[in-house]
């Protein structure tokens, strides 16, 4: 017999999201086009509700005979992912309205993608993990191609799908090897089974599949194309909520299923981290399209986050949560900034279009500069502490070469971050951007305030939460 209380405690947010998604489908079927405008508020509410539920059942639990198991570590990530997902949805509305593609399907896909995020975070079994990843991925492919009349969007969706399917195949192949050699699909069971060559093969293939999902090098090639081609709000979503979720899942799988064989995967993760940092920061140097640039920047940032994973559970888990929280908040704000780049009825995406923003829209320019400096990890802004934590974790774990790569790639990345600041502050003013939706302005200002300044003052609080949450992994 199912224990409903345990079920709700373990995966309350996912149940809520599944119900909200299905109810949305019904509402869509009944209300048809009348639901389009309303659906965004509906979706955002559902996501914020899911975020609230993850806090409510923060301690988590186990259900379905060990198929899902949640703790504070994953619930922290759920809360952040759902909350930023909600904001990403709110600020999408205006964009889609102007492009005449405001459809409730967009919201439903976002909800199902979020459901997938919740599922992978809750997963304590290879089966649930795979199902969650597919739920997330399939929704994401469609979202990337949401502007189906646009060649770029369709291309992004197709590219994402083909490569994503390949990665899923790798993951599945790895999972089946792991199952074959350990005799179980349960994380705890895998962890306690004797290490063997076959198990290690499976693990490496799983790392490859997961690395694709978090866009770590060398499985990163899709990222710039998809970020560029997908509609901007979709990019904003990809760069925030699923990023947080997948990154934490990567850590979760490594720490729980393969925690005892860390000596086997630490080097692999370290190499992936180093490559991501280098490729991300050097790749971004020559970009002229702001979305592509953010794509490369996200690769570099995934590299930084992976340093925390490579540092291991004891030193890295808390640092990972702090870093990713600061990163996704800034990332969302930066994409909101891209959404504000509208001129003569169309979007502009070249970095040069930001020219002289300081003269035409000073507050937007200041907020974006704060976000850029924060994401670059420059003190005094909040992002510095994210890097500080990761750096600390890396050195504590004795990963000095990685720490040095982190430093070098930070300097390199300043090269392109500073270029954006330069264009906004030093260049001749261009024509003023068209008026921006209130929700977009609000997201930029709020995320600049939160990531840049609020976390500077209250970093102790955030780190306390994150480190307490990371303790959940050990229990």
């Amino acid at each position: 017999m199912l224990d409903y209380t345990a079920m709700i405690v373990a995966i309350g947010p996912e149940l809520w999201l599944a119900a909200a998604g299905l109810l949305g489908v019904l509402l869509g079927a009944i209300l048809k086009d009348r639901f389009n405008a309303l659906s965004f508020k509906y979706g955002a509410l559902a996501l914020f509700g899911a975020a609230a539920l993850s806090l409510m059942f923060y301690q988590g639990g186990e259900a379905f005979g060990g198929l899902v198991k949640t703790n504070t570590f994953v619930n922290f990530a759920k809360f952040v992912s759902f909350a930023v997902g909600g904001f990403a949805l709110i600020m999408s509305e205006g964009f889609l309205k102007r492009h005449d593609t405001i459809r409730y399907e967009y919201v439903l896909l976002t909800l199902f993608a979020s459901l997938g995020m919740g599922m992978i975070l809750s997963a304590a079994d290879l089966m649930t993990l795979y199902m969650g990843i597919e739920t997330l991925s399939l929704s994401s492919y469609v979202l990337a191609a949401f502007h189906r009349d646009s060649a770029r969007s369709s291309e992004a969706g197709l590219k994402y799908f083909v490569l994503g399917a390949l990665a899923s195949g790798m993951l599945l192949y790895g999972a089946s090897l792991v199952y074959g050699f350990s005799g179980t699909t349960n994380f705890a069971g895998i962890s306690s089974s004797a290490p063997s060559i076959g198990l290690m093969f499976g693990m490496v293939l799983m790392i490859v599949g997961l690395a694709f999902k978090i866009s770590a090098a060398p499985m990163h090639v899709w990222t710039p194309d998809v970020y560029e081609g997908a509609p901007t709000p979709v990019g904003a979503f990809f760069a925030s909520a699923p990023k947080m979720a997948s990154m934490v899942v990567f850590a979760n799988v490594m720490f729980t299923a393969f925690g005892d064989v860390m000596d086997q995967w630490q080097l692999i993760v370290a190499i992936i981290a180093g490559l991501s940092m280098i490729i991300g920061s050097f790749g971004a140097l020559t970009q002229t399209n702001v979305k592509r640039l953010l794509g490369y920047s996200s690769i570099a940032n995934v590299g930084y986050a992976l340093v925390a994973v490579a540092a291991g559970q004891a030193s890295g888990a808390g640092a990972l949560l702090i870093f990713m929280t600061l990163y996704v908040v800034s990332s969302l704000g930066l994409f909101a900034g891209v959404l504000a780049m509208r001129r003569r009825g169309g979007m502009v995406e070249s970095i040069d279009e930001l020219g002289g923003l300081m003269s035409s829209r000073p507050w937007l320019a200041i907020a974006l500069s704060i976000l850029i400096f924060s994401i670059a990890g420059l003190p005094p802004f909040g992002g510095f502490f994210g890097k500080w934590e990761v750096f600390n974790a890396g050195i504590e774990a004795g990963l000095l070469p990685l720490a040095i790569i982190l430093v070098v790639s930070s300097v390199v990345s300043l090269g392109y971050y500073l270029r954006i600041v330069k264009i906004m502050w030093f260049d001749e003013p261009k024509e003023r951007f068209e008026s921006i939706d209130g929700s977009v302005t609000l997201t930029v200002l709020a995320s600049a305030f939160v990531a840049g300044i609020l976390f500077l003052v209250f970093i102790n609080q955030l780190s306390q939460w994150a480190y307490d949450a990371a303790l959940g992994l050990a229990s």
Partner: protein, 499 residues
């Protein structure tokens, strides 16, 4: 502890003022950076002047409660902030004079911009005030992470000051300044993280007493030196400085030479010497060699410059060589001399950049060849220029002399050859400064545009005369400074022995 947090007040007063200025401008003009009419921009500058003057008054008030006889840190404030990292500020005989120098120079910078900055004035004032907060924070921080945050954060406003209000090659100079300094600072960050983990604390007082193993010290010392050597700057990592100075607006050069360079010397004294004594001894010959090369080489380079600002920039590098020499002599005379030389150079180099700014504002060129015969049209200017030329050369009676002679005496006690090399630099400094003076001030007026150049106006005099008075005052009565710095210098040296 307890009582009014005067140091925090001094540090954050400019920042609060900057926020108020931004708020008021957005409220009154809708947006604080629209194309301003002349009158509005004066209001912003005036507000900036009032705030920075208030900061100066506050820092003087802090100085009055400062006990020069006590050696340790005073007026300490400590609040819980981020785990082991605390918000801890305080001053000692090393940082107090530098804080006063900063608060003293900032109003002068803003006043000097009165007639030379006409675009985006509000942002200019805000940038300067924010920069002031960060500079003060660097000197006041008693927690190494807090220090790092202020140290690095100062790059942002300076980047903007050079990049927005600078000369033709401003973008190049701003990037070079930023990336050069950043690379150094990040290496320091690696060391900071390591020290934080090894000692379990980021409190400077704890770290001073923590004995790092000698082989670790070497690496930590190198990482810190990477940052401070760029900032100071030392040969061969000085190349950002001439670019930054030449491109920065006058006030930017003043603050760069007057305060930002001092962070390097301050860092060596605050961190490298007391925390890594073994490594400091190990690298002493190398530092002496670099100091001598800096003094001799950059003096010669300065001699061949055709751009006035570039000449003074190279002369700054040379004078900072004396600071290095004094610091690494590891004796009281040398360290005291180094601190004195930093303050003295802060006054003299600032004044020289202002003096170049005076003619640049009139003629819009810094080419030495474009001038000549200024004494005929600008007698007051020529007099002040003469004073600072002599001070930069190190003429007795000016503060420049005291700093150079003491650092050389200190160096002489530690390594004779180093002092001998440095003495050569004194001669060269006479060569390039007198050449500069002769070619700009004396001679016939060859450039017809110079015929109706006007002498210094009241604002310029108000900026430069206080610097002149202090230069002479400290030259005649250097004990005014030594009484403050003595305790700190001895404390640093005793930490080197004891720790």
């Amino acid at each position: 502890m307890g009582g009014f947090p005067i140091i925090s007040a001094v540090v954050f007063l400019p920042l609060i003022g900057a926020l108020i200025i931004m708020g008021v401008r957005s409220a009154t003009a809708g947006s604080f950076s629209s194309e301003e009419a002349g009158k509005d921009s004066r209001a912003a500058l005036l507000a900036g002047l009032i705030i920075s003057s208030a900061t100066f008054v506050a820092s003087v008030a802090a100085f009055l409660t400062f006990d020069s006889n006590a050696a340790g840190y005073q007026l300490v404030e400590q609040y819980a902030w981020y785990g082991e990292i605390t918000y801890k500020v305080g001053v000692d005989g090393l940082s107090m004079p530098l804080i006063l120098l900063t608060t003293f120079l900032t109003p002068i910078c803003l006043l000097a911009s009165w007639n030379s900055i006409h675009t985006r004035v509000t942002e200019y004032v805000v940038a300067f005030l924010v920069l002031e907060t960060f500079m003060l924070g660097v000197f006041a921080a008693l927690d190494i992470v807090l220090f790092y945050i202020f140290f690095e954060a100062g790059l942002i406003p300076m980047f903007l000051i050079i990049g927005i209000w600078g000369g033709k090659e401003k973008i190049y100079a701003a990037f070079k300044f930023f990336l050069y300094t950043l690379l150094g600072s990040l290496l320091m960050l690696v060391a900071v993280v390591y020290m934080f983990q090894a000692a379990g604390s980021s409190d400077i007082e704890v770290l001073e007493k923590f004995a790092f193993p000698p082989h670790v010290q070497t690496w930590l010392w190198l990482a810190f030196a990477a940052s401070f050597a760029v900032k100071l700057p030392m040969w061969p990592v000085h190349t950002w400085l001439p670019d930054a100075h030449v491109q920065a607006p006058t006030a930017g050069s003043v603050i760069l030479a007057g305060v930002l360079l001092k962070m390097g010397g301050y860092g060596f004294l605050r961190f490298s010497l007391p925390m890594f004594p073994d490594a400091s001894h190990l690298f002493q010959p190398a530092m002496f060699a670099l100091a001598v090369i800096a003094i001799v080489y950059t003096s010669l380079v300065a001699w061949r410059q055709t751009d006035m600002k570039k000449l003074i920039a190279y002369s700054s590098v040379a004078h900072m060589g004396f600071v290095t020499l004094g610091i690494f002599s590891f004796n009281e005379v040398g360290v005291q001399g180094a601190i004195f030389q930093m303050l003295s150079h802060g006054l003299i180099a600032s004044a020289l950049f202002l003096i170049v700014g005076v003619v640049y504002d009139r003629m819009h060129t810094r080419e030495i060849a474009a001038y000549g015969g200024l004494v005929k049209r600008m007698p007051v200017y020529a007099t002040l220029f003469m004073l600072f030329t002599m001070a930069n050369v190190g003429l007795p009676g000016t503060s420049g002399f005291v700093g150079e002679i003491l650092t050389m005496v200190g160096g002489f006690q530690a390594a004779t050859w180093a002092a001998a090399g440095a003495a050569l630099g004194v001669i060269f400094s006479a060569v390039y400064m007198l050449t500069l003076y002769r070619r700009t001030v004396f001679g016939e007026i060859t450039n017809p545009k110079l015929n109706d150049i006007s002498d210094m106006n009241v604002i310029e005099l108000v900026c430069i005369v206080p610097l002149a008075l202090l230069t002479i005052l400290f030259g005649v009565a250097p004990n005014l400074i030594f009484n403050i710095t003595e305790g700190a210098a001895n404390r640093i040296l005793s930490l080197m022995v004891g720790g």
